[in-house]
Amino acid sequence: MEFHIQCDPNDISRYVFIPGSHDRAKKIAAHFTDAKLVNQSRGYLVYTGLVDGIRMTVSSTGMGGPTTAICIEELGHMGADTMIRVGSCGTFQDYVTCGDVVISTGTYRDGGTANTYLPIEFPAVPDFEVTTALVRAARSLSIPAHVGLGTAGDAFYAPRDPARRELFKQAGIVSAEMESDTLYIVAAVRGWRTGGVYTSDGTAKETKPAWGEEAFRQGEENTILIALEAMKQIALADLRRKGSVE
């Protein structure tokens, strides 16, 4: 039994969605057939069910690097090797607004947890196959998506440095969230496939404005649809390659 996610390892699929938010885990599980709650210890809400006959799991990670690393390590011990983060994010770009979908191509490593795995110069990047699956899924669902870089760090409320915001904006960083740096680096060390898709809950000027909430909710549902379709296509490709999704 793992130390924090206390469930039967057989209840974890190799295909796992990892939102930060527990509520979003429930929303994702609502798309599963025969969704079963398999864990809620330490706040990790874990459901497993079927998507078009393919067994998939969703586990909330909570916020930030430490809780994310513990979560995905334990999921990995139980056989997970393909993980898609379905997150929310802020943005540095004026062309992004509430509800916009962002597919991640790499992350600025502003968090601390990943540094205990690999030195800072190691690139935090998603797996190309997963990213491609996300981009194709968005296209096939006719959901517009930004594809680009993000930053992930450890503090939501720490003072913000305007010069740094300007640098990030110029360097094309689209999204800001708190988990993908850890996800990509731990995955590199463990040899898993990962990707990230986020919904913006703000603009370059406003953090989570009330006027954008409805658009955000719609965007959140869009990211869930994209992630589900992408994971399904990845599983089907595995099936074609190996004859099995297990």
């Binding site: 502003d110 690999l118 110069e121 690139p123 990047v125 491609t132 870089l149 360097a171 094309g172 040899g191």
Partner: protein
């Protein structure tokens, strides 16, 4: 006129191949329709020609971050916006042989030049469209490639720490070369698109073994064909997008 690449800016195409080796620049130019020698200052050997009517340039960057940064900055001043590095590399993985082609999906930033642009926490990654085009091109040409993390640093002959290299091998770093970190970070900082592929000239145990030279040359030719097809795909997509936006 630029400080180091001394040529007429009109002679530089927006689509540029950036090998390290001046000899490889000539080999790439040999695939252009009516290639023209543009200039050779400071070792930046430049040819411009067309591929199916699309103007393309090749510029040898020389070895290491400082020369790469100066080269692409000056090419950028002259209108270049899409770069594909066509390089050679060593490898850390036992299953990679001389002549194998590797497409970089991200780069370990062991070099120092890029740090003057963006801190090491910033990921050195190819532009997604260029990465996609390179993989698509390899598929169209039915040439096998590996896609993975590359290591880019400033020293060819330094031994380095064996534990560090063991870690890099363990986490799956495929290739080692000296320019992609700088290329990706400067391009990203300037808002340009860049990608990179390399032909391995060694194995995880041998650096540039003589027995692998012929395979390496074949791999080099393969990566040139992939790069040219990828650039063509990118340019065609750009054109289609421009038409759509103009409508």
């Amino acid at each position: 006129m630029e400080f180091h690449i001394l040529c007429n800016p009109q002679d530089i195409a927006p689509y540029v191949f950036v090998p390290g080796d001046p000899d490889r620049a000539k080999k790439i130019a040999a695939h252009f329709d009516s290639p023209r020698f543009v200039s050779d200052t400071r070792g930046y050997v430049i040819y411009t020609g067309t591929v199916e009517g699309i103007p393309m340039t090749v510029c040898a960057t020389g070895m290491g971050g400082p020369q790469v940064a100066i080269g692409i900055e000056e090419l950028g001043h002259m209108g270049a916006h899409t770069f594909i590095r066509v390089g050679s590399c060593g490898t850390l993985q036992d299953d990679i042989m001389p002549g194998d082609v590797i497409i970089a999906s991200g780069v370990v930033r062991a070099g120092a030049t890029a740090n003057r642009y963006l801190p090491p926490a910033f990921p050195a990654v190819p532009h997604f469209d260029v990465l996609t085009a390179l993989i698509e091109a390899a598929g169209r040409l039915a040439l096998p490639v590996q896609v993975g993390i590359d290591w880019s640093g400033d020293s060819f002959y330094a031994e380095g720490d064996p534990l560090y290299w063991a870690k890099m091998k363990q986490v799956g770093v495929k290739s080692a070369e000296m320019e992609a970190d700088t290329l990706f970070i400067v391009a990203n900082y300037r808002g340009w698109r860049a990608g990179a592929l390399f032909a391995s000239d060694g194995t995880s145990k041998e650096v540039k073994p003589e027995w692998g030279a012929a395979s390496f040359r074949a791999g080099e030719e393969n990566e040139i064909r992939i790069a040219i097809e990828a650039m063509r795909l990118i340019a065609v997509a750009d054109l289609a997008k421009q038409k759509q936006e103009g409508r």
